[in-house]
Amino acid sequence: MVAELKYEISQNAYIKLVLHALKHKTTAVNGVLLGRVNPQNESVVEIIDSVPLFHYNLALLPPLEIALIMIEEHYGSKGLGIVGYFHANERFGDAELGIVAKNIGDHICRYFPQAAVFLLDNKKLAALPKGKDQSPVLQLYIRDASKNWKLAGPDGGSRLVIKEPAANVVLSDYISSEKWQDVVDFDDHLDDIKMDWLNPELFK
Protein backbone atom coordinates (compact mmCIF):
# COMPACT_ATOMS: atom_id res chain seq x y z
CA MET A 1 0.00 0.00 0.00
CA VAL A 2 1.38 3.37 -0.95
CA ALA A 3 1.58 5.79 1.93
CA GLU A 4 -0.44 8.95 1.38
CA LEU A 5 1.64 12.01 0.68
CA LYS A 6 1.88 14.55 3.46
CA TYR A 7 2.60 18.23 2.92
CA GLU A 8 4.54 20.16 5.51
CA ILE A 9 4.57 23.90 4.98
CA SER A 10 6.98 26.30 6.66
CA GLN A 11 5.60 29.20 8.65
CA ASN A 12 7.09 31.84 6.39
CA ALA A 13 5.82 30.23 3.20
CA TYR A 14 2.35 29.98 4.72
CA ILE A 15 2.14 33.45 6.20
CA LYS A 16 3.47 35.14 3.06
CA LEU A 17 0.64 33.73 0.96
CA VAL A 18 -2.12 34.59 3.42
CA LEU A 19 -0.79 38.13 3.84
CA HIS A 20 -0.73 38.48 0.06
CA ALA A 21 -4.39 37.54 -0.10
CA LEU A 22 -5.17 40.08 2.61
CA LYS A 23 -3.29 42.81 0.78
CA HIS A 24 -5.59 42.38 -2.21
CA LYS A 25 -8.95 41.77 -0.56
CA THR A 26 -11.01 42.67 -3.60
CA THR A 27 -9.41 40.39 -6.18
CA ALA A 28 -8.32 36.82 -6.59
CA VAL A 29 -4.63 36.20 -5.94
CA ASN A 30 -2.28 33.31 -6.53
CA GLY A 31 1.20 32.10 -5.74
CA VAL A 32 3.53 29.15 -6.03
CA LEU A 33 5.08 26.99 -3.35
CA LEU A 34 8.70 25.94 -3.44
CA GLY A 35 10.13 22.87 -1.84
CA ARG A 36 11.18 19.27 -2.33
CA VAL A 37 10.44 15.73 -1.34
CA ASN A 38 11.89 15.17 2.12
CA PRO A 39 15.18 13.37 1.48
CA GLN A 40 14.73 11.28 4.63
CA ASN A 41 11.06 10.49 4.12
CA GLU A 42 9.68 10.07 0.61
CA SER A 43 6.09 10.41 1.71
CA VAL A 44 6.54 14.00 2.89
CA VAL A 45 6.76 17.04 0.65
CA GLU A 46 8.49 19.92 2.43
CA ILE A 47 7.26 23.35 1.40
CA ILE A 48 10.07 25.68 2.29
CA ASP A 49 9.15 28.94 0.64
CA SER A 50 6.48 30.63 -1.45
CA VAL A 51 6.31 33.39 -4.04
CA PRO A 52 3.15 35.50 -4.35
CA LEU A 53 2.41 35.87 -8.04
CA PHE A 54 -0.50 37.99 -9.22
CA HIS A 55 -3.52 39.96 -8.09
CA TYR A 56 -4.79 40.97 -11.53
CA ASN A 57 -5.86 39.01 -14.61
CA LEU A 58 -4.65 35.69 -13.24
CA ALA A 59 -5.67 33.81 -16.37
CA LEU A 60 -3.18 35.42 -18.76
CA LEU A 61 -0.14 33.39 -19.81
CA PRO A 62 2.72 35.83 -20.45
CA PRO A 63 3.24 37.10 -16.89
CA LEU A 64 2.83 33.55 -15.55
CA GLU A 65 5.39 32.11 -17.95
CA ILE A 66 7.97 34.77 -17.11
CA ALA A 67 7.38 34.31 -13.40
CA LEU A 68 7.75 30.53 -13.54
CA ILE A 69 10.97 30.77 -15.57
CA MET A 70 12.56 33.23 -13.15
CA ILE A 71 11.33 31.42 -10.07
CA GLU A 72 12.53 28.03 -11.24
CA GLU A 73 15.87 29.54 -12.22
CA HIS A 74 16.32 31.09 -8.79
CA TYR A 75 15.19 28.20 -6.63
CA GLY A 76 16.62 25.49 -8.88
CA SER A 77 20.10 26.59 -7.89
CA LYS A 78 19.11 25.90 -4.27
CA GLY A 79 17.83 22.42 -5.02
CA LEU A 80 14.20 23.44 -4.70
CA GLY A 81 11.40 23.24 -7.23
CA ILE A 82 7.78 24.31 -7.57
CA VAL A 83 5.78 21.79 -5.57
CA GLY A 84 2.42 23.49 -5.29
CA TYR A 85 0.07 26.27 -6.27
CA PHE A 86 -1.87 28.65 -4.04
CA HIS A 87 -5.10 30.38 -4.98
CA ALA A 88 -7.46 32.72 -3.16
CA ASN A 89 -10.87 33.39 -4.69
CA GLU A 90 -12.23 36.86 -5.26
CA ARG A 91 -15.41 36.39 -3.27
CA PHE A 92 -15.60 35.50 0.41
CA GLY A 93 -18.36 32.98 -0.12
CA ASP A 94 -16.66 31.18 -3.00
CA ALA A 95 -15.10 27.98 -1.71
CA GLU A 96 -14.74 26.25 -5.03
CA LEU A 97 -11.55 25.45 -6.86
CA GLY A 98 -12.02 27.33 -10.13
CA ILE A 99 -10.87 26.40 -13.59
CA VAL A 100 -7.88 28.74 -13.65
CA ALA A 101 -6.52 27.19 -10.46
CA LYS A 102 -7.04 23.69 -11.82
CA ASN A 103 -5.28 24.53 -15.08
CA ILE A 104 -2.27 26.03 -13.38
CA GLY A 105 -2.22 23.09 -10.99
CA ASP A 106 -2.21 20.70 -13.94
CA HIS A 107 0.67 22.58 -15.50
CA ILE A 108 2.74 22.33 -12.33
CA CYS A 109 1.98 18.61 -12.07
CA ARG A 110 3.74 18.11 -15.38
CA TYR A 111 7.01 18.98 -13.72
CA PHE A 112 6.25 17.69 -10.22
CA PRO A 113 3.55 15.02 -10.31
CA GLN A 114 2.95 15.15 -6.56
CA ALA A 115 2.11 18.85 -6.67
CA ALA A 116 -0.84 20.02 -4.61
CA VAL A 117 -3.16 22.98 -4.87
CA PHE A 118 -3.96 25.09 -1.82
CA LEU A 119 -7.12 27.16 -1.71
CA LEU A 120 -7.47 29.89 0.89
CA ASP A 121 -10.25 28.99 3.33
CA ASN A 122 -11.92 32.37 3.80
CA LYS A 123 -14.20 31.30 6.61
CA LYS A 124 -11.32 29.79 8.57
CA LEU A 125 -9.27 32.91 8.02
CA ALA A 126 -12.10 35.11 9.31
CA ALA A 127 -12.33 32.95 12.43
CA LEU A 128 -8.61 33.08 13.06
CA PRO A 129 -8.38 35.78 15.72
CA LYS A 130 -11.09 34.09 17.77
CA GLY A 131 -9.83 30.56 17.90
CA LYS A 132 -6.84 28.56 18.98
CA ASP A 133 -6.80 26.50 15.79
CA GLN A 134 -3.30 25.52 14.82
CA SER A 135 -4.28 24.08 11.47
CA PRO A 136 -3.62 26.14 8.36
CA VAL A 137 -6.37 28.32 6.87
CA LEU A 138 -5.96 26.42 3.63
CA GLN A 139 -7.82 23.69 1.83
CA LEU A 140 -5.69 20.99 0.29
CA TYR A 141 -6.50 19.65 -3.17
CA ILE A 142 -4.79 16.58 -4.62
CA ARG A 143 -5.11 15.05 -8.07
CA ASP A 144 -6.72 11.62 -8.11
CA ALA A 145 -5.94 8.76 -10.48
CA SER A 146 -8.11 10.28 -13.22
CA LYS A 147 -6.25 13.59 -12.85
CA ASN A 148 -9.19 15.38 -11.26
CA TRP A 149 -8.54 17.78 -8.42
CA LYS A 150 -10.19 16.52 -5.24
CA LEU A 151 -10.45 18.14 -1.85
CA ALA A 152 -8.45 16.09 0.63
CA GLY A 153 -11.09 14.47 2.82
CA PRO A 154 -11.99 15.12 6.45
CA ASP A 155 -8.75 13.48 7.50
CA GLY A 156 -7.08 15.96 5.13
CA GLY A 157 -6.30 17.95 8.22
CA SER A 158 -3.46 15.61 8.94
CA ARG A 159 -2.11 15.65 5.40
CA LEU A 160 -1.28 19.32 5.53
CA VAL A 161 0.58 20.64 8.54
CA ILE A 162 2.48 23.76 9.34
CA LYS A 163 5.99 23.01 10.50
CA GLU A 164 5.92 25.58 13.29
CA PRO A 165 2.88 24.99 15.54
CA ALA A 166 2.51 28.63 16.60
CA ALA A 167 2.25 29.90 13.02
CA ASN A 168 -1.37 31.05 13.35
CA VAL A 169 -0.48 33.12 16.39
CA VAL A 170 2.26 34.84 14.42
CA LEU A 171 -0.12 35.28 11.49
CA SER A 172 -2.77 36.88 13.71
CA ASP A 173 -0.15 39.28 15.03
CA TYR A 174 0.88 40.26 11.53
CA ILE A 175 -2.74 40.77 10.56
CA SER A 176 -3.29 43.15 13.48
CA SER A 177 -0.21 45.12 12.53
CA GLU A 178 -1.30 45.22 8.86
CA LYS A 179 1.96 43.60 7.77
CA TRP A 180 0.35 42.64 4.49
CA GLN A 181 1.20 46.09 3.16
CA ASP A 182 4.82 44.99 2.85
CA VAL A 183 4.19 41.94 0.68
CA VAL A 184 5.51 42.25 -2.89
CA ASP A 185 4.20 39.99 -5.65
CA PHE A 186 5.27 39.35 -9.23
CA ASP A 187 2.69 41.83 -10.57
CA ASP A 188 4.34 44.51 -8.42
CA HIS A 189 7.73 43.52 -9.80
CA LEU A 190 6.57 43.70 -13.42
CA ASP A 191 5.08 47.13 -12.73
CA ASP A 192 8.30 48.31 -11.07
CA ILE A 193 11.32 46.03 -11.19
CA LYS A 194 12.75 47.62 -8.05
CA MET A 195 10.12 45.65 -6.09
CA ASP A 196 11.58 42.32 -5.06
CA TRP A 197 9.24 39.29 -5.33
CA LEU A 198 11.56 37.37 -3.05
CA ASN A 199 10.41 39.60 -0.17
CA PRO A 200 13.81 39.35 1.56
CA GLU A 201 13.00 41.87 4.29
CA LEU A 202 9.46 40.72 5.05
CA PHE A 203 10.17 38.58 8.09
CA LYS A 204 13.22 40.37 9.40
Binding site: T26, A28, N57, L58, A59, L60, L61, P62, P63, E65, I66, I69, M70, E73, H74, R91, G93, D94, I99, V100, N103, L190, D191, I193, K194, D196
Partner: protein, 300 residues
Amino acid sequence: MVSKTEETQLNRLENQVDNGGGGAWEYLCLVRKLKVRRSEKVLKHGLSILNDPKKRSALGPEEWTLYEQVAIAAMDCQCLDVAKDCIKVLQKKFPESKRVGRLNGMLLEAKGSWAEAEKAYSSLLEDNSLDQIIHKRRIAMAKAQGNISEAIELLNKYLEIFMADHEAWREQAELYVSLQMYKQAAFCYEELILSQPTVPLYHLAYADVLYTLGGLENLQTAKKYYASTIDLTGGKNTRALFGICLCISAIAQVSKGRNKEDKESPELQSLAATALEKDYKQRAANKLGLLTCSLRSLKN
Protein backbone atom coordinates in the same frame (compact mmCIF):
# COMPACT_ATOMS: atom_id res chain seq x y z
CA MET B 1 -7.31 54.01 -14.92
CA VAL B 2 -4.66 55.72 -12.90
CA SER B 3 -1.24 56.81 -14.10
CA LYS B 4 1.92 56.16 -12.08
CA THR B 5 2.27 59.87 -11.28
CA GLU B 6 -1.29 60.05 -10.06
CA GLU B 7 -0.81 56.96 -7.93
CA THR B 8 2.39 58.32 -6.40
CA GLN B 9 0.65 61.59 -5.63
CA LEU B 10 -2.25 59.75 -4.02
CA ASN B 11 0.01 57.54 -1.91
CA ARG B 12 2.01 60.52 -0.75
CA LEU B 13 -1.15 62.30 0.35
CA GLU B 14 -2.42 59.16 2.01
CA ASN B 15 0.79 58.78 3.98
CA GLN B 16 0.61 62.40 5.00
CA VAL B 17 -2.93 62.12 6.30
CA ASP B 18 -2.23 58.78 7.98
CA ASN B 19 0.63 60.31 9.91
CA GLY B 20 -1.33 63.30 11.15
CA GLY B 21 0.00 65.77 8.60
CA GLY B 22 -3.45 66.98 7.54
CA GLY B 23 -4.84 67.15 4.01
CA ALA B 24 -7.72 64.74 4.60
CA TRP B 25 -10.20 66.64 2.42
CA GLU B 26 -7.63 66.96 -0.39
CA TYR B 27 -7.04 63.21 -0.16
CA LEU B 28 -10.74 62.37 -0.24
CA CYS B 29 -11.25 64.61 -3.28
CA LEU B 30 -8.38 62.94 -5.10
CA VAL B 31 -9.76 59.48 -4.34
CA ARG B 32 -13.10 60.61 -5.79
CA LYS B 33 -11.48 62.13 -8.85
CA LEU B 34 -9.33 59.08 -9.62
CA LYS B 35 -12.16 56.70 -8.79
CA VAL B 36 -9.93 54.39 -6.80
CA ARG B 37 -11.09 51.98 -4.15
CA ARG B 38 -9.50 52.88 -0.81
CA SER B 39 -12.49 52.28 1.36
CA GLU B 40 -10.78 51.72 4.71
CA LYS B 41 -8.89 55.01 4.47
CA VAL B 42 -11.88 56.92 3.12
CA LEU B 43 -14.00 55.63 5.97
CA LYS B 44 -11.42 56.55 8.59
CA HIS B 45 -10.54 60.01 7.32
CA GLY B 46 -14.02 60.86 6.06
CA LEU B 47 -15.56 60.09 9.42
CA SER B 48 -12.97 62.21 11.21
CA ILE B 49 -14.25 65.18 9.21
CA LEU B 50 -17.96 64.33 9.47
CA ASN B 51 -17.82 63.76 13.19
CA ASP B 52 -16.24 67.16 13.80
CA PRO B 53 -18.94 69.87 13.47
CA LYS B 54 -16.38 72.61 12.74
CA LYS B 55 -14.64 70.64 10.00
CA ARG B 56 -17.99 69.57 8.60
CA SER B 57 -19.44 73.06 8.27
CA ALA B 58 -16.18 74.27 6.71
CA LEU B 59 -17.02 72.03 3.75
CA GLY B 60 -20.14 73.98 2.85
CA PRO B 61 -22.26 72.23 0.21
CA GLU B 62 -19.54 69.60 -0.32
CA GLU B 63 -20.59 68.13 3.01
CA TRP B 64 -23.25 66.05 1.22
CA THR B 65 -20.74 64.68 -1.30
CA LEU B 66 -18.65 63.52 1.62
CA TYR B 67 -21.62 61.81 3.26
CA GLU B 68 -22.19 59.91 0.04
CA GLN B 69 -18.51 59.01 -0.33
CA VAL B 70 -18.30 57.78 3.27
CA ALA B 71 -21.57 55.85 2.97
CA ILE B 72 -20.20 53.90 0.02
CA ALA B 73 -16.84 53.31 1.71
CA ALA B 74 -18.63 52.13 4.85
CA MET B 75 -20.64 49.63 2.82
CA ASP B 76 -17.45 48.35 1.22
CA CYS B 77 -15.99 47.78 4.69
CA GLN B 78 -19.21 46.18 5.92
CA CYS B 79 -19.79 48.97 8.48
CA LEU B 80 -23.48 49.04 7.66
CA ASP B 81 -24.50 51.14 10.67
CA VAL B 82 -22.23 53.97 9.60
CA ALA B 83 -23.59 53.68 6.06
CA LYS B 84 -27.16 53.74 7.31
CA ASP B 85 -26.49 56.87 9.37
CA CYS B 86 -24.92 58.71 6.46
CA ILE B 87 -27.77 57.77 4.15
CA LYS B 88 -30.30 58.93 6.75
CA VAL B 89 -28.66 62.36 6.84
CA LEU B 90 -28.76 62.56 3.04
CA GLN B 91 -32.36 61.38 2.94
CA LYS B 92 -33.36 64.15 5.33
CA LYS B 93 -31.64 66.78 3.24
CA PHE B 94 -32.74 65.43 -0.16
CA PRO B 95 -36.06 63.64 0.47
CA GLU B 96 -37.08 62.93 -3.15
CA SER B 97 -33.60 62.18 -4.40
CA LYS B 98 -32.95 59.35 -6.85
CA ARG B 99 -29.30 59.52 -5.90
CA VAL B 100 -30.19 58.69 -2.31
CA GLY B 101 -32.50 55.99 -3.63
CA ARG B 102 -29.47 54.45 -5.30
CA LEU B 103 -27.58 54.49 -2.03
CA ASN B 104 -30.46 52.68 -0.38
CA GLY B 105 -30.27 50.09 -3.12
CA MET B 106 -26.56 49.68 -2.47
CA LEU B 107 -27.24 49.24 1.23
CA LEU B 108 -29.58 46.38 0.42
CA GLU B 109 -26.82 44.90 -1.71
CA ALA B 110 -24.33 45.24 1.12
CA LYS B 111 -26.73 43.35 3.36
CA GLY B 112 -26.99 40.59 0.76
CA SER B 113 -30.69 41.30 0.17
CA TRP B 114 -30.35 40.81 -3.56
CA ALA B 115 -34.02 40.49 -4.43
CA GLU B 116 -34.94 43.65 -2.56
CA ALA B 117 -32.05 45.54 -4.11
CA GLU B 118 -33.17 44.38 -7.56
CA LYS B 119 -36.69 45.62 -6.80
CA ALA B 120 -35.37 49.00 -5.68
CA TYR B 121 -33.25 49.36 -8.80
CA SER B 122 -36.05 48.30 -11.15
CA SER B 123 -38.37 50.92 -9.77
CA LEU B 124 -35.66 53.59 -10.05
CA LEU B 125 -35.07 52.52 -13.65
CA GLU B 126 -38.75 52.99 -14.45
CA ASP B 127 -38.31 56.71 -13.99
CA ASN B 128 -34.99 56.85 -15.78
CA SER B 129 -34.14 53.86 -17.93
CA LEU B 130 -30.79 55.36 -18.91
CA ASP B 131 -29.32 55.59 -15.43
CA GLN B 132 -25.85 54.22 -16.07
CA ILE B 133 -25.01 53.78 -12.41
CA ILE B 134 -28.01 51.59 -11.72
CA HIS B 135 -27.31 49.44 -14.76
CA LYS B 136 -23.81 48.96 -13.43
CA ARG B 137 -25.12 48.08 -9.96
CA ARG B 138 -27.09 45.22 -11.45
CA ILE B 139 -23.97 43.95 -13.15
CA ALA B 140 -22.08 44.28 -9.87
CA MET B 141 -24.81 42.30 -8.12
CA ALA B 142 -24.53 39.46 -10.59
CA LYS B 143 -20.78 39.44 -10.05
CA ALA B 144 -21.15 39.55 -6.28
CA GLN B 145 -23.38 36.49 -6.38
CA GLY B 146 -20.82 34.64 -8.45
CA ASN B 147 -22.95 34.69 -11.57
CA ILE B 148 -20.28 35.78 -14.02
CA SER B 149 -22.13 34.67 -17.13
CA GLU B 150 -25.12 36.78 -16.17
CA ALA B 151 -22.83 39.71 -15.41
CA ILE B 152 -21.36 39.34 -18.90
CA GLU B 153 -24.81 39.22 -20.48
CA LEU B 154 -25.98 42.32 -18.61
CA LEU B 155 -22.75 44.09 -19.45
CA ASN B 156 -23.18 43.28 -23.14
CA LYS B 157 -26.66 44.83 -23.06
CA TYR B 158 -25.20 47.85 -21.29
CA LEU B 159 -22.46 48.21 -23.91
CA GLU B 160 -25.04 48.17 -26.71
CA ILE B 161 -26.42 51.37 -25.26
CA PHE B 162 -23.34 52.94 -23.74
CA MET B 163 -20.71 51.84 -26.23
CA ALA B 164 -18.37 54.71 -25.41
CA ASP B 165 -17.88 53.57 -21.80
CA HIS B 166 -14.27 52.48 -21.92
CA GLU B 167 -14.14 51.25 -18.35
CA ALA B 168 -17.09 49.00 -19.12
CA TRP B 169 -15.29 47.47 -22.09
CA ARG B 170 -12.29 46.84 -19.85
CA GLU B 171 -14.47 45.23 -17.20
CA GLN B 172 -16.04 43.03 -19.86
CA ALA B 173 -12.63 41.98 -21.12
CA GLU B 174 -11.55 41.08 -17.59
CA LEU B 175 -14.72 39.08 -17.00
CA TYR B 176 -14.12 37.15 -20.21
CA VAL B 177 -10.50 36.49 -19.25
CA SER B 178 -11.58 35.18 -15.86
CA LEU B 179 -13.72 32.61 -17.68
CA GLN B 180 -10.87 31.90 -20.11
CA MET B 181 -13.02 33.20 -23.02
CA TYR B 182 -10.00 34.82 -24.64
CA LYS B 183 -11.47 35.40 -28.11
CA GLN B 184 -14.26 37.47 -26.65
CA ALA B 185 -11.80 39.33 -24.44
CA ALA B 186 -9.71 40.08 -27.52
CA PHE B 187 -12.77 41.61 -29.19
CA CYS B 188 -13.23 43.99 -26.25
CA TYR B 189 -9.63 45.14 -26.45
CA GLU B 190 -10.01 45.61 -30.20
CA GLU B 191 -12.90 47.98 -29.54
CA LEU B 192 -10.80 49.88 -27.01
CA ILE B 193 -7.81 50.16 -29.32
CA LEU B 194 -10.08 51.41 -32.12
CA SER B 195 -11.53 54.15 -29.99
CA GLN B 196 -8.37 55.06 -28.06
CA PRO B 197 -5.41 53.95 -30.18
CA THR B 198 -2.75 55.73 -28.15
CA VAL B 199 -3.45 54.11 -24.79
CA PRO B 200 -0.62 51.59 -24.31
CA LEU B 201 -2.50 49.59 -21.66
CA TYR B 202 -4.96 48.32 -24.27
CA HIS B 203 -2.21 47.29 -26.69
CA LEU B 204 -0.49 45.39 -23.89
CA ALA B 205 -3.63 43.67 -22.68
CA TYR B 206 -4.56 42.73 -26.26
CA ALA B 207 -1.10 41.25 -26.81
CA ASP B 208 -1.35 39.26 -23.56
CA VAL B 209 -4.71 37.82 -24.59
CA LEU B 210 -3.50 36.93 -28.10
CA TYR B 211 -0.42 35.22 -26.70
CA THR B 212 -2.62 33.25 -24.33
CA LEU B 213 -4.85 32.19 -27.24
CA GLY B 214 -1.79 30.91 -29.04
CA GLY B 215 -1.32 29.79 -32.61
CA LEU B 216 1.12 31.28 -35.10
CA GLU B 217 -1.08 34.11 -36.33
CA ASN B 218 -2.05 35.25 -32.85
CA LEU B 219 1.55 35.11 -31.69
CA GLN B 220 2.68 37.25 -34.59
CA THR B 221 -0.05 39.78 -33.94
CA ALA B 222 0.78 39.74 -30.22
CA LYS B 223 4.38 40.54 -31.09
CA LYS B 224 3.19 43.55 -33.09
CA TYR B 225 1.14 44.85 -30.21
CA TYR B 226 3.93 44.36 -27.66
CA ALA B 227 6.04 46.37 -30.09
CA SER B 228 3.44 49.12 -30.31
CA THR B 229 3.23 49.18 -26.51
CA ILE B 230 6.98 49.69 -26.35
CA ASP B 231 6.61 52.44 -28.92
CA LEU B 232 3.86 54.20 -27.00
CA THR B 233 5.72 53.97 -23.69
CA GLY B 234 9.12 55.06 -24.97
CA GLY B 235 10.56 51.60 -24.36
CA LYS B 236 9.80 51.64 -20.68
CA ASN B 237 7.26 48.86 -20.37
CA THR B 238 8.83 45.79 -18.75
CA ARG B 239 5.84 43.57 -19.52
CA ALA B 240 5.95 44.44 -23.22
CA LEU B 241 9.69 43.81 -23.42
CA PHE B 242 9.23 40.39 -21.86
CA GLY B 243 6.28 39.86 -24.17
CA ILE B 244 8.47 40.31 -27.23
CA CYS B 245 10.94 37.71 -25.95
CA LEU B 246 8.13 35.28 -25.16
CA CYS B 247 6.52 35.75 -28.57
CA ILE B 248 9.70 35.22 -30.51
CA SER B 249 10.46 32.08 -28.55
CA ALA B 250 6.94 30.75 -29.00
CA ILE B 251 6.87 31.61 -32.71
CA ALA B 252 10.14 29.75 -33.20
CA GLN B 253 8.65 26.70 -31.47
CA VAL B 254 5.47 26.77 -33.53
CA SER B 255 7.23 27.35 -36.85
CA LYS B 256 9.78 24.58 -36.41
CA GLY B 257 10.05 22.75 -39.67
CA ARG B 258 7.57 25.02 -41.37
CA ASN B 259 10.23 26.80 -43.43
CA LYS B 260 8.90 30.15 -42.33
CA GLU B 261 11.82 32.39 -41.68
CA ASP B 262 11.31 35.32 -39.43
CA LYS B 263 14.08 37.67 -40.45
CA GLU B 264 13.39 40.53 -38.10
CA SER B 265 13.09 38.46 -34.97
CA PRO B 266 16.70 37.85 -33.91
CA GLU B 267 17.27 41.61 -33.99
CA LEU B 268 14.06 42.39 -32.20
CA GLN B 269 14.78 39.76 -29.56
CA SER B 270 18.24 41.07 -28.80
CA LEU B 271 16.91 44.64 -28.71
CA ALA B 272 14.29 43.69 -26.16
CA ALA B 273 16.75 41.59 -24.16
CA THR B 274 19.29 44.40 -24.12
CA ALA B 275 16.68 46.92 -22.99
CA LEU B 276 15.63 44.62 -20.17
CA GLU B 277 19.20 43.94 -19.07
CA LYS B 278 20.00 47.63 -19.08
CA ASP B 279 16.99 48.39 -16.95
CA TYR B 280 17.65 45.57 -14.48
CA LYS B 281 21.31 46.59 -14.20
CA GLN B 282 20.20 50.07 -13.22
CA ARG B 283 17.26 49.37 -10.97
CA ALA B 284 17.27 45.71 -9.94
CA ALA B 285 20.89 44.66 -10.15
CA ASN B 286 20.43 41.75 -7.75
CA LYS B 287 18.11 40.13 -10.28
CA LEU B 288 20.28 40.77 -13.34
CA GLY B 289 21.91 37.33 -13.30
CA LEU B 290 18.52 35.70 -12.99
CA LEU B 291 17.19 37.77 -15.89
CA THR B 292 20.08 36.85 -18.15
CA CYS B 293 19.67 33.13 -17.46
CA SER B 294 15.92 33.34 -17.99
CA LEU B 295 16.26 35.17 -21.30
CA ARG B 296 18.83 32.62 -22.39
CA SER B 297 16.50 29.73 -21.61
CA LEU B 298 13.82 31.47 -23.65
CA LYS B 299 16.10 31.66 -26.66
CA ASN B 300 16.57 27.88 -26.72
